[in-house]
């Protein structure tokens, strides 16, 4: 078993896998299969005590990536475009939801386990989907997926249009106005800041370190490892200990696998939902239509070819007929 705790992470070859992913790989070597080198995390929420050590760790190691917006914000047109500002001192301290300054929060649910009512807690953040709509549909390529299964939003390129949040089944990315590239373009008319979310500590992974939230958790709630092994481990635990799995199939598969003592339906009913507070509902593969239609695109030229050839043959036959019979000429 090569699932990783904080101690074993450095010893495995994953550090190298992580490093390779961060570098930019040119075409066509850049295309590769999804299971080749994707890392997933296993979050066993039965172990979580809700201490928020992971939240603090995330805030500490990622503080340098947080937005420092310029004020006053550019006036925006039309007036329906709302400013999203989390940069005030009190707002930066918000810890009960996702914000541009809080990429991980602890969600609570009251559930009955073994006939006993319990308050359980669990860390929530980006799921790092295997085929992330946020990255697929980002019109600029600012949101992108790395080969090691990390989805991240490049703060230097993002224009803050919020499309990634709209298409994300869990509403994950959060906007801060007054930062980023849009300020240098048409700040009043296009864009509205930068979107922020968990980047699974891509820079730490590239250096062979663990994501901060995993490293600092006193209960070792999270483990990280190759996706196939994480999935196998999740199923083993689920079978042996009667736990439930979320994230393996949701949205076509994610790189965040939750293990729960109660069905996720139950959990989903109990958690606080709303902006910045993701649900635990079933999620269909949002990009399935694109996969199917891409196949149709392969066949389409042949249909056109067949139609064209039949037109040519018909015209050629007619041309063989005597001119007086041919009304097309």
């Amino acid at each position: 078993m090569t699932l990783l705790t904080r101690r074993s992470f450095l010893k495995t070859g994953l550090a190298t896998a992580g490093a390779a992913c961060a570098s930019q790989v040119p075409l066509p070597a850049a295309a590769q299969t999804k299971n080749d080198g994707e890392l997933a995390t296993l979050i066993d929420i039965r172990k979580c005590v809700g201490c928020e050590a992971c939240v603090e760790a995330c805030r500490e190691v990622n503080a340098a990536k947080y937005p420092e917006p310029e004020k006053p914000f550019p006036k925006m047109y039309p007036s329906r475009v709302k400013v999203a500002d989390w940069s005030g001192e009190d707002k930066r301290e918000v810890r009960d939801r996702l914000t541009p300054y809080n990429w991980l929060f602890i969600q609570w649910a009251t559930v009955v386990v073994d006939g006993e009512e319990q308050e359980i807690s669990f860390p929530r953040r980006c799921m790092h989907c295997q085929n992330p709509p946020c990255a697929d549909l980002c019109p600029w390529g600012a949101a992108r997926k790395l080969k090691n299964g990390i989805t991240l939003i490049h703060a230097d390129i993002c224009l803050g249009g919020r499309k990634c949040q709209v298409v994300c089944p869990w509403d994950i990315p959060q906007r801060q106005t007054g930062v980023g590239l849009y300020l240098d373009l048409l700040p009043s008319f296009a864009g509205n800041g930068v979107m922020y979310k968990c980047d699974r500590c891509y820079n730490r992974i590239a250096q062979g370190e663990l994501p901060a939230c995993i490293e600092q958790c006193p209960e070792e709630v999270q483990t990280i490892g190759p996706r196939s092994e994480i999935i196998a481990e999740a199923h083993r635990i689920a079978n042996e200990e009667g736990a439930y799995i979320y994230g393996e199939k949701e949205n076509g598969g994610t790189n965040t696998i939750y293990l729960s003592p109660v069905p996720f339906e139950t959990l989903n009913r109990s958690v606080d939902k709303g902006p910045g507070k993701p649900h635990f509902a079933p999620v269909e593969d949002q990009m399935a239509h694109a996969d199917n239609m891409a196949k149709a695109m392969l066949i389409a030229p042949f249909a056109g070819l067949a139609a064209g050839v039949s037109r040519v043959i018909r015209a050629a036959r007619r041309a063989d007929e005597p001119p007086e019979d041919n009304h097309e000429a």
């Binding site: 930019q24 850049a30 299969t33 490049h154 249909a303 040519v312």
Partner: protein, 171 residues
């Protein structure tokens, strides 16, 4: 060939009357759904216009853009075959056609890469993705500009090969 039995060339009748309008409508829809990939239709109230709500729905515009691409692929294959099979002897491609073909090819190629990128098992380098996305948009804008210019100069796709038109007319 006997002098009073002139070789007649097929005319691009279906192409003019059916394919061309379909192509123009498709191109317009591809432009609309393509621009709809940027979060602008909601911001600028377009999606508030009754009947145009769908322009602000990213999954809908994305679906339609793919659907349009499928139909365009059918159409492109069809016209390539019919041009080479039927009309090439009587008609040459205009200069404007070469410009259009270049731009359309560029749009198709960048579009194919964008489609590949959206497949679950394909990851391109970030810079390539951005370069590709912006090129796709830029080539489409160039196609729109050239469309306006060519409609002013009345430059179509085909020019009759004059020397082929010498056959005496009977009517």
């Amino acid at each position: 060939m006997k002098p009073n039995a002139p070789k007649r060339y097929p005319k691009p009748y279906i192409e003019q009357k059916v394919i061309k309008p379909v192509y123009l409508v498709l191109l317009f829809m591809m432009g609309l759904t393509g621009f709809g990939q940027m979060p602008i239709f909601k911001r600028y109230y377009i999606a508030d216009i009754p009947g145009l709500e769908w322009t602000g729905k990213f999954y809908v515009t994305h679906y339609l853009h793919y659907l349009g691409a499928i139909v365009l692929f059918v159409l492109f294959a069809y016209v390539i075959v019919t041009y080479f099979g039927l009309f090439r002897r009587s008609h040459a491609l205009s200069k404007a056609a070469y410009v259009r073909i270049f731009l359309l090819a560029a749009i198709v190629v960048t579009g194919i890469f964008r489609t590949l990128k959206n497949l679950p098992n394909v990851v391109f380098s970030p810079n390539f993705t951005m370069f590709n996305d912006i090129s796709h948009l830029a080539f489409m804008m160039l196609l729109m500009v050239s469309g306006i210019v060519f409609s002013i100069t009345k430059s179509g796709w085909l020019v009759p090969r004059a020397f082929r038109q010498t056959a005496p007319r009977n009517d």
